[in-house]
Symmetry: D2
Subunit: 424 residues, 4 copies
């Protein structure tokens, strides 16, 4: 079956009365409910093409069946998500996994599904079939200029493909680094990487951005050449105004204060985008909000505050994306849960009484500061998020709809049980 | 070419004069040099069959060529290592990757190479082709008794194969755990696992041991059902006298004091074995001694002290094994480096002035305690390790011999450049 | 001024209408609201005597004024808290800081304030004026039997004082450990500690318990002799049925899964008590629920589930206590915030749909498991907690009352601005 | 007794024969022994005035007796250290603890002891007796401009005192930060701090530097306003060419790659100085080299390589200082151990075969890179360090001399057993 609007409407109508009661109560609790709902309606989170299949670890992978087999089916899946939650109106592609031949057709398909093309992702952390030189010892950092050139060319090709599709940003995540002391000269690795990025930067169209993602460790286990926000900021500052830092929530050392990093990057005008997920130990790539929902709120609290302060009121100023790996959940259900958690955190951050917070901060009233933040966090704002979906024509309870109409079973019937999504 | 004894002898003869000078100097520095050398000659470290190929991460794998294609070639590789260093006289198999059909032939081949069969490893963290039930949600812990029974049966089959080969221990590493809060009832998971282990325990021959390995996280990222030494000890205590805890150096939370854990397990008579490797962030599986050589020494310091105290003087009382993953090194060179680092740490621990240490501890002379340990660690004992190799008929400089005779090139010529070792 | 009941009633009456609306809404959202309210009314959390003054770090301390100067004023402060929130009806003393001379008078004063005497705390981590032997190198673990005996005697004296006051438990937190490799023989330290604890255990009255607290690090920075739950469980198992493990939320290595530890200790019948606080880096001793409120809920989720499973339905089966350090907040306001956060987490855990959770777990429906837990966590149950306070005659909004009647100013007026609470 | 040169000479003469043998052997192992010895002779490490007394934790402090009671006795102690090891020829003062009234006399005393005045340290993390405004909620970051101004004035006063003494650098370590989410506006805190530092910077004499130290956590437990190297670099880049980042080895999140940070700061020309110590968990302030000696070597490896690359060959280009806390050791013995460990690490780094390393790196020969570094680390170079001391007229075995002549006993006799060094 294809999920039609009337399926959603039918489901919504069953839940509507209870929803209205909840919404009415929340509106009595929150000052700017209508303002928040409108911000939620406008908010869109890109879905990466590689998140639609079951993830794995180095120890193995347990498929869940019905995974998309090509870019058309990936667009179809994200279209489904967007129909369900009204907030997933963009797709982020990964090249070469998603290299498109029929550009016009793909663009038309995306448009039919209401999807834009978000940041393009290059891949120099794996060797592809038939690739001339290996990335075993790095790509943009490599001691061999020929390998660096190959990596540069690949990134430029990704830009080219992105231009055709209508994207306007390139995300560079480098696995580059080292596994053992002595393997790298850190300064040479940095300089080589900077030189390579400079060439890629030069190939950016005028309206494009490049996002330089950082990560503390994995797959290299001694050093990473873009290892933390400080290193990323060094690169993006040296590159120029089109270069920005991208924050992935799972890419930090234990106990890092990510919300402070976010605030400082905003202050420097260098926060480019986000990869949402959650984690307990490392880059665990769990569902957003599943482990540390308060931290997710605190991050959004900085985003709301910092973007207001900089006049970055337009939703396009930061690229929002999920980057998770669904090892034990249905990937589509997982994405619905992630988007929901992100929307809730955004709603909570929007509902913070900023004036009261500023006043409490101004007199170092720490107890009151905490009360204000926790008031926003503990108030149940899920009805606002549901209302935003309702107004967007989407489902009040997306996961329930997904299950009620047995969409996974349908996908398995159509695509088979042993499909492997291209990519990871 | 096949590496012959005369190749090693020829190489040794070139290095001999300088070696003798170093040995002579070390003997003037260390009290019990001859005793230490003999202990080093006797010391054997098992090589796991899966460490002979290039490792990978969830992001990819970069092969190095010439990897063994079957168990015969794995035995050949370990035979080569043992010929080079005289300390790798055992192989640890992984079932089903190494399931043997021609048992007699394999035993003969191992004997020709001077190898014993160390602990057998079961695998319930991956689904195998044609497997009836999936381990996606665990094996010995599974909520479904049928999955637990399948896992139990597999472990019993591994014991059976091990008995045929002459092994006398089973290592159980469980990936069992959960990725999200709520997924598991922790107590039920523990009880199911205990019940399953009890059935496996009942199938152990009289002279066998079972090692229960613990790991803090990965591939599950919220909880692990044998997550730390305390949990492993609970299981092995409840199971009985043939059950022991196995320590893998990379399986701890950040900053854990592993040497203290080792001491306490020895105290309880429950230290069964070791998986050596090194790490900076998690289960990085780097070359032993490559990151924290002082920690490796401190662990051996506890082993030497604790085994003496318990009369565990025989080398067979603890199972020593390497468990590393060679992502950016030649696997055989990496193993030579690991064994060398382990031997050095053992030599350092043997050279600690225990009487002086006890005296300093007895008066809480912390400065002196540190001086005594660091005296052992900072003294260069590599000539003792080399001498042990020389006496065992092995190479003074194993990596040099491996390179001089271009053994990797030979392996690639014979086996091809794109081979994939069975297993990870 | 003294806070009188009519002050609270007057305040409550202002908030009552809005409270009733919220309560009514929550009752429409939660199945067992009345059951939960009653459990909350019954729930009592002990306040440690040392938490009433401003805390400090090794770098300094910034007093907040009006701190209690003796045990009478400490009881007065906790009486005030209990009057405000109805849930702080117990005090936990620390000897020798709180050594009582006039036992009868102190007992009467506590009774007037509605307070019981919770677990007594011994102190062998500091040297007291005039103490014969130093604890610089440990107490119960010390290499010198005379120091061990002094520590044992102190603990027995603490039991004696506790018996007089009507307490029935002893908490032993040991700073014992080492700062440098080699300083301690780990096994000897364990055996000495066990021997010492055995003597203390023998001095326990029939109806007493002893809690053995563990801590990963600080004030010793290499090893701690009761370093983790596994070590504590070893001690308490060897000691006997009156010995239990005590969990302090801040005493773990980074990323530890504390809720799993809680579940396993409950399974073993060895969970004795709790020290609530919150932390980001180490034993930060922050307000409960201020940093990781979801983790606090997950811990309570295990407590509710595990205690039900064991028939531990009586509230006295586990000792609940706050152990925080209020460096930048008013200590009394901080304690009100901590108790509130704990009550909320308890309410959330009580509201989990356990039957649904078990069903979802039974089919490994991970998505659903998460939905069930997050439904309980995200529903705003603060009105239930407030209602429990109302029924207990306490304040709907304790911090507001504390501020409205300027209680801190009054305390400063009475006690002075430069007081130092005995103890830390 | 006063330690005289003939005491040291007498002791050296006893050890000389054995030393000569060791030196001779090392010279046969290391290429540039004489070059290394000369570098070691030239190398000086500043001793902070606060490291001469026993340290403590928030839980207590155990004095060791004979601690210096004033700045004269502190200079005396460092003079003693310098006499013993020839490498401690500088003192780093802490204001107001070490505020000097008789400047000329103090300068003369320092000169007599062969000591220079290294970086001056300001203190805005504690309130001093009679201070007008409190630093409870920060100093240079404070929301109240008056508190910021007080902190600025204090730093300018420290510069003034330093100018009189002949120092030429100011180290600013800020405890500024927050303990709870919401307490601070991160961006305002940064901007306030930057503004304050700018005023201090303006007060620097032409030949002065300011070092901005960073620290991840403690005494604030949620955020620190100069929290990592990236933040420090932001400040020092905005301040100007006299501002540099200072690295304290204990001020990082778990598992941070400090040597990479050092390399990058050198690359940017912004590495100003070092605080040496060692740690396992946090800012444990343990003896340098006592926990992770290989990491200490790797850091020096970057320093030697990076300073060569930048032509920073003069020893004054980076400020070297110890910053440890001697809770369970004699402070003077601890400092001797720290300096020894630092000298060894420096010697090891100097002995790295850089040409071979560059060649191995140029072909990504990871195995060989490791062998080269470990060859330098495992070779016992202590005789080179001892020889450097001998040539400087200091002791071959400083700790032994300290003990042989019972210097601590003498200090206790002169100064008493209960002295408390000014400061921490």
């Amino acid at each position: 079956m294809k999920l039609e609007n009337y399926h959603i409407e039918s489901h919504n109508s069953e839940l509507l009365a209870r929803h209205e009661q909840r919404l009415s109560f929340v509106k009595s609790e929150v000052a700017d409910a209508e303002y928040i709902i409108q911000k939620l309606v406008d908010f869109q989170i890109a879905i990466p093409s590689w998140a639609l299949g079951t993830g794995g670890t180095r120890f193995g992978r347990f498929s869940s069946g019905g995974e998309p087999r090509n870019i058309e089916e990936k667009i179809e899946d994200i279209g489904l998500l967007h129909k369900l939650n009204g907030s997933s109106g963009a797709i982020s592609l990964h090249i070469p996994w998603d290299t498109v031949e029929n550009t016009a057709g793909i663009k038309a398909l995306a448009a039919q599904n209401g999807l834009k093309f978000d940041a393009m992702n290059s891949n120099t952390f794996q060797d592809q079939q038939g690739q001339a030189l290996s990335y075993k010892f790095g790509s943009l950092q490599h001691v061999d200029k020929a390998v660096r050139q190959q990596s540069i060319n690949h990134n430029i090709e990704v830009i080219r493909q992105g231009v055709e599709l209508g994207s306007n940003a390139l995300t560079v995540w480098l696995a580059d680094g080292s596994c053992f002391p002595g393997q790298l000269n850190f300064r040479n690795a940095f300089q080589n990487t900077l030189e390579s990025l400079t060439e890629i930067y030069a190939a950016l169209p005028a309206d494009w951005k490049v996002f330089v993602e950082y990560k503390a460790f994995e797959p290299n286990f001694y050093s990473t050449t873009v290892g933390d926000w400080g290193q990323s900021l060094l690169y993006t500052s040296k590159l120029g105004p089109k270069a920005f830092t991208l924050v992935d929530l799972g890419h930090h050392l234990p106990n890092a204060n990510i919300e402070q990093i976010v605030a400082l990057l905003l202050m420097e005008g260098k926060l480019g985008g986000f990869h949402f997920n959650d984690s307990k130990y490392g880059d665990d790539d769990l569902t957003a909000g599943s482990m540390k929902p308060y931290q997710l709120f605190l991050i959004f609290n900085e985003l709301v505050e910092g973007m207001d302060a900089r006049g970055m009121i337009h939703k396009d100023d930061v690229a929002w994306m999920i980057d998770a790996s669904h090892n034990v959940k249905d990937p589509l259900e997982d994405l619905l849960q992630s988007v929901e958690a992100i929307m809730i955190a955004y709603a909570q951050a929007l509902s913070v009484d900023r004036k009261a917070l500023q006043e409490a901060q101004a007199v170092s009233d720490v107890v009151r500061c905490q009360e204000i933040l926790q008031q926003a966090f503990r108030t149940d704002l899920r009805a606002l998020v549901a209302e935003a979906r309702l107004r967007a024509g989407a489902a009040l309870a997306p996961v329930e709809v997904f299950r009620k109409y047995q969409i996974r079973a349908e996908l398995i019937k159509n695509r088979g049980n042993k499909t492997v999504a291209t990519g990871l």
